[in-house]
Symmetry: C2
């Protein structure tokens, strides 16, 4: 309803915004951050360069917006972790999927672009945490909370620290390319976290 | 002896190399990576721009060389971990020192520059691992090995995974500015790793 009442130019604006952000993600995934330009994005999205510059001051800004937009239409069900009542099995499934995601070349290029942006700029880091990472972290935390209540974790387990213990080694290994990212590695991370935070 | 036999121009070259790398580190620490230029480095080091370009093709390359050079004159004693026979106490000391290092603004800027370089470039990542990170990792690993032999760790403790469990959360928190870096946090990381890998 609300959408139908929107004046045409506002719907057109939203369409062009989405086209720009999709083109940006596709190009970063194909070419990597250094290989793309505002011109290439405009051409891929079928808009003029000025349409991009009216909204975003730089390539950094549009790439970052393109990443954040991935989080826009997530709802709770999309990002909830499985809860079969067996924490080890559920975490292995999730960590193995995360490993696979990080070894996908398109995802790899996108995430390296995000990381550089976030590392260099405190404002972007805060937006990334709030708009992108936090909902995911809360979904993970909810699964750990249910496990703690079910007695699968120690009653005083620090769930934020447990999340870091699970995910940070994988993240660092990926960022520094310092070791293989495999299903066995995912399982070893789960086992380590359960030894540290189990009952 | 060998040094005395070096022809003058070779000693001069080495002196100018060191001056350039020191000037680079000082400038990155003061201004951050984005705030510096080859011109500023040349001026600070008292050399011409061409002297820099003859050796390094880009700002990236000279900044990276400046970081690697920090590892050049390290010897085993400099980087060995304390070994008092009490692993928990020794690791707390070391992790607390690491936290302090990461909260120092000059170190912070240098390391963010390194990380961006390493994240974006596989060749630099490999050089960083081999020339800079590996000797430090081996020193840490030696301390864990001695603890495992003394029965302070489980006989089948995976020491590389234990190092990642100790350091990766701190690294990720620092890179993404996602939480406070405090002595209490350092202690919590040590306790987590010892619960996971203890006997």
């Amino acid at each position: 309803m609300t959408d139908n009442k929107k004046p045409d130019h506002s719907r057109r604006k939203e369409r062009s915004r989405r086209a720009i952000l999709e083109a940006t993600r596709a190009l970063v995934a194909e070419e990597g951050y250094d290989g793309i330009s505002i011109e290439a994005i405009a051409s891929r999205a079928g808009v003029g360069k000025q349409t991009i510059y009216r909204r975003w001051p730089s390539k950094d800004a549009v790439v970052f917006a393109a990443i954040l937009a991935l989080g826009e239409n997530r709802d709770g069900d999309d990002i909830a972790l499985p809860d079969t009542g067996d924490l080890r099995a559920d975490l292995r499934l999730v960590l193995r999927a995360t490993v696979e995601e990080f070894t996908d070349p398109a995802f790899d290029r996108l995430m390296r672009a995000v990381n550089t942006a976030v590392s260099d700029n405190e404002t972007l880091a805060a937006r990334y945490r709030e708009e992108f990472a936090r909902p995911l972290d809360e979904a993970k935390r909810a699964r750990l909370l249910s496990a703690r209540e079910a007695g699968e974790l120690s009653p005083d387990a620090d769930l934020d620290l447990m999340l870091e213990t699970l995910y940070a080694p994988l993240f660092q290994r990926w960022l520094h390319r310092s070791g293989p990212l495999t299903a066995e590695y995912a399982d070893a991370l789960v086992d380590t976290a359960l030894r540290a935070f189990g009952p």
